[in-house]
Amino acid sequence: MNVRYLAGRDPAELLDPAAPFWKDSRPEPLRLVGTPSSLQPTAAVRAAWPDARIGAIGAVTVDAVHDGTQLAFRLEWEDPSEDRAIGDTTVFPDAAAVLLPSVPGAPVITMGAPGVAVNAWYWRADEERAGRQVVAEGLGTTRTVDHELVRTHATWKEGRWQVVIARALRVDSKEPVAQLRAGESTGYAVAVWEGSRGERAGIKSYSGNWRELVLAPVA
């Protein structure tokens, strides 16, 4: 996917899923599949979640722009139920994330490996606009490293989520997070959790192995 360069955008505009500039682009459609039951980290989760139950959301479209400083992903997918709040102990919110390698060659399927981190920019419907910057070095090792740098804005209407997840290309962090530069390429992957089906943690749909993300140079 090519990430267009847009000069001098207001941060609020970049976060707006309805901003006019998104209309000029051709978002990339991605097929999503459920994560394999056999790779879930605990026997209890594997027993409760056979493959057939995992992966409620089968498709998402992805688009991205940057302004030389900020990179914004726009995800859109069909979801008849808007699951925003955890209203009861049995209720789970919708969520989505973009995964980037912190280190080239980090594996997607195992969410990184020791010493080879991956970096998720994560949105959850009950957490308003504060996204989470998550680092993982293997299944079950995710940790939120900050609550401020990743910003999100989500709209649900007519049975579709439109979610923008943005972060600065480069961030001041001691953690193994992705550091990006205009004019360079990296990989990306997408995951979506369907709250109404109880999807959370490793129970999600994902886009498979890394796909190419080419950041246009600053013109």
């Binding site: 605990t42 209890a44 027993a47 409760a48 102990t89 049995t90 995710t142 959370r200 943690a201």
Partner: protein, 334 residues
């Protein structure tokens, strides 16, 4: 911990001791890390015994999540109106908002049997701090730890992301979800007290001297004596496969009465099969031992077991965790 069900009067002092100490923050309103239910009954959360979880043949058995209504929402009363609104003679104390349809120590208060042979007993429950904790083993984030030194099972709220796999997996349904902090929470066996040599609040506050505290393998302390030596204290639902570390001395009800009102010792008031369904087949032997020792004392003899269960000296029930909490300078928030 051992709880002697023959001494529990269902007063809920343990419940309130725990509530006041640990679950007063926002998001914890509906939590009762300690509950006392009337048995037979549907319990708290209602019908928890049918919710699955734990292990069958060593493999995890899928469980379901209780809802907040199953636990019982926190009831909010019109205290202000009645006590401070100057209307005490006009309004009566009532629940504010929607009438609750279920609550611990309320709708669950059931029992069984027919007059004059009705029966019931109280069952206090906390987290069982299991040897084989289904919660810990279910968590995909290793957010639950079992302390090496004493086996207390704790949820690390910094690691927890509120996924609730632990709630599904716990067959005793003793994990709560905090809707404010969005993390799971449960009985911590008063570990900050234990670390200072102080028994749990539920044990110290119990007016009935129901609860014994201590290390299972301390042969000079009551837990080993009751569980391993006398074998009169048994885990609840051992078939759940988690090896609880809370044990119960099973209840012996008063004798049955026949149609003429005479004592009928031919069968027990609480059916054996019901107690077997709760504590496993070993409960029958435990009941025999208890009855035998009771008979001994009734005949004027001495019984080491009865002396132990009576708890003549309160502090002897705490396996060395007998320090007075008032003698300690507690750090706030620590």
């Amino acid at each position: 911990m051992v709880m002697d069900l023959n001494k529990c009067i269902g007063c809920q002092t343990c419940t309130m001791a725990c509530k006041r100490l640990w679950t007063r923050d926002e998001g914890m309103e509906y939590m009762w890390w300690n509950t006392v239910n009337t048995m037979p009954g549907r319990g708290t959360p209602r019908d928890w015994e049918q919710m699955g979880g734990g292990f069958a043949d060593g493999q995890p058995r899928p469980g379901r999540l209780p809802t907040r209504r199953d636990f019982g929402e926190a009831w909010d009363f019109n205290h202000d109106e009645v006590f401070f609104g100057g209307q005490g003679d006009k309004v009566h104390l009532q629940v504010k908002g929607e009438a609750p349809d279920w609550g611990p120590n309320w709708d669950e208060d059931q029992g069984a049997g027919e007059y004059p042979n009705a029966y019931y007993f109280y069952l206090p429950r906390i987290c069982n701090h299991c040897t084989h904790p289904a919660c810990l083993e279910a968590c995909p984030r290793q957010a639950i730890v079992k302390r090496e030194e004493d086996g207390i099972v704790l949820i690390d709220e910094d690691r927890c992301r509120g996924y609730r796999f632990c709630m599904e997996a716990c067959p005793y349904k003793k994990i709560y979800f905090n809707h404010q902090k969005k993390v799971s929470q449960k009985c911590i066996f008063c570990f900050p007290r234990i670390d200072q040599g102080v028994a749990t609040a539920c044990a110290r506050q119990c007016p009935g001297r129901v609860r014994f505290v201590g290390y299972r393998d301390d042969q000079s302390a009551p837990i080993w004596k009751l569980v391993d030596q006398w074998k009169v204290a048994l885990p609840l639902h051992p078939e759940f496969g988690t090896e609880p570390n809370v044990f119960y001395v099973p209840p012996i009800a008063p004798p049955r009465l026949d149609a003429d009102g005479n004592v009928d010792e031919s069968k027990p008031r609480i059916p054996d099969e019901y107690l077997v369904s709760l504590f496993g087949p070993d409960v029958l032997r435990a009941l025999e031992v208890l009855k035998g020792e009771m008979a001994k004392t009734r005949a004027g003899g001495r019984s080491e077991l009865m002396d132990l269960l009576i708890g003549h000296k309160w502090k002897d029930m705490f396996g060395g965790f007998d320090r007075d909490p008032a003698s300690i300078e507690w750090e706030k928030g620590a």
